[in-house]
């Protein structure tokens, strides 16, 4: 495929690379940041990257399944964020900070 057409015409690959980039940025945030809330945000970013690729696949292959999966991903991501932040609130009340190193003190 010549380079010029790949620049002027948006192919499925463009969306997939965007999705991969989002996923990797999110992953970078997860392994790099120390703040539990920012880590949760980065996870949301990763899930969004996945959503982009689902929608793009669905659009380009003319099916509806991808959209349905996106629905489920969104519902689960929202639930995950709610529960994750509830944990963060509990941690914050105990240690007055939400650095993930606080989680090391948790023993059963």
């Amino acid at each position: 495929m010549p380079l010029t057409s790949s620049l002027t015409e948006i192919s499925l690959n463009h969306y997939l690379i965007l999705s991969a980039a989002l996923f990797c940025i999110g992953m970078f945030g997860v392994i790099m940041r120390k703040n539990a809330i920012v880590i949760l945000m980065s996870i949301e970013l990763m899930l969004n990257g996945v959503n982009v690729s689902f929608v793009a696949f669905s659009r380009y292959q003319n099916t509806m399944d991808g959209y349905v999966i996106v629905f489920f991903v969104m519902a689960i991501a929202a639930a995950e964020a709610a529960v994750g932040l509830a944990l963060a609130v509990a941690i914050f009340k105990r240690f007055r900070e939400i650095n993930i190193s606080s989680f090391e003190h948790l023993k059963g």
């Binding site: 629905f71 969104m74 519902a75 929202a78 639930a79 964020a81 709610a82 932040l85 509830a86 609130v89």
Partner: protein, 124 residues
């Protein structure tokens, strides 16, 4: 296609530009006074001193947001259902899709009942 996005982006840019330009112009027109120390302090009806960081904020607000998410997702799943309900009825699958949604809603009504009993909805 992407042309549907055009008007939306145009409107967003327009209102953003309007805001920025107007605020910029107004800041040029208005009088320039050197603010005193008392003026820069946050306005607390004359009682100065307390800072926002020492305020106790109830967790209730956060709880409301969680419960909002839960029922928002429920609503999101009801919308597509509402769109096809009449079509399913016309094709004779009405009872199937009705029962499906009743089960879904019943689960969440049970959840609502639970939070009600758990006093998560009470604001003192």
């Amino acid at each position: 296609m992407i042309y549907q996005l055009g008007p939306v982006l145009f409107m967003a840019t327009l209102s953003l530009l309007f805001g920025v330009v107007v605020l910029f112009l107004v800041s040029k027109v208005g009088p320039k006074l050197k603010p005193t120390k008392a003026k820069l302090e946050s306005y607390e009806s004359g009682i100065s001193g307390q800072q926002a960081s020492t305020t106790k904020v109830p967790v209730k607000f956060y709880l409301t947001a969680i419960l909002f998410i839960v029922f928002d997702i429920e609503a999101i799943f009801i919308y597509p259902w509402a769109a096809v309900f009449k079509d399913f009825l016309a094709e004779g699958y009405g009872s199937f899709i009705l029962i499906e949604m009743v089960v879904f809603m019943a689960t969440l009504v049970w959840g609502l009942f639970y939070i009600w009993k758990g006093k998560a909805l009470d604001w003192e």
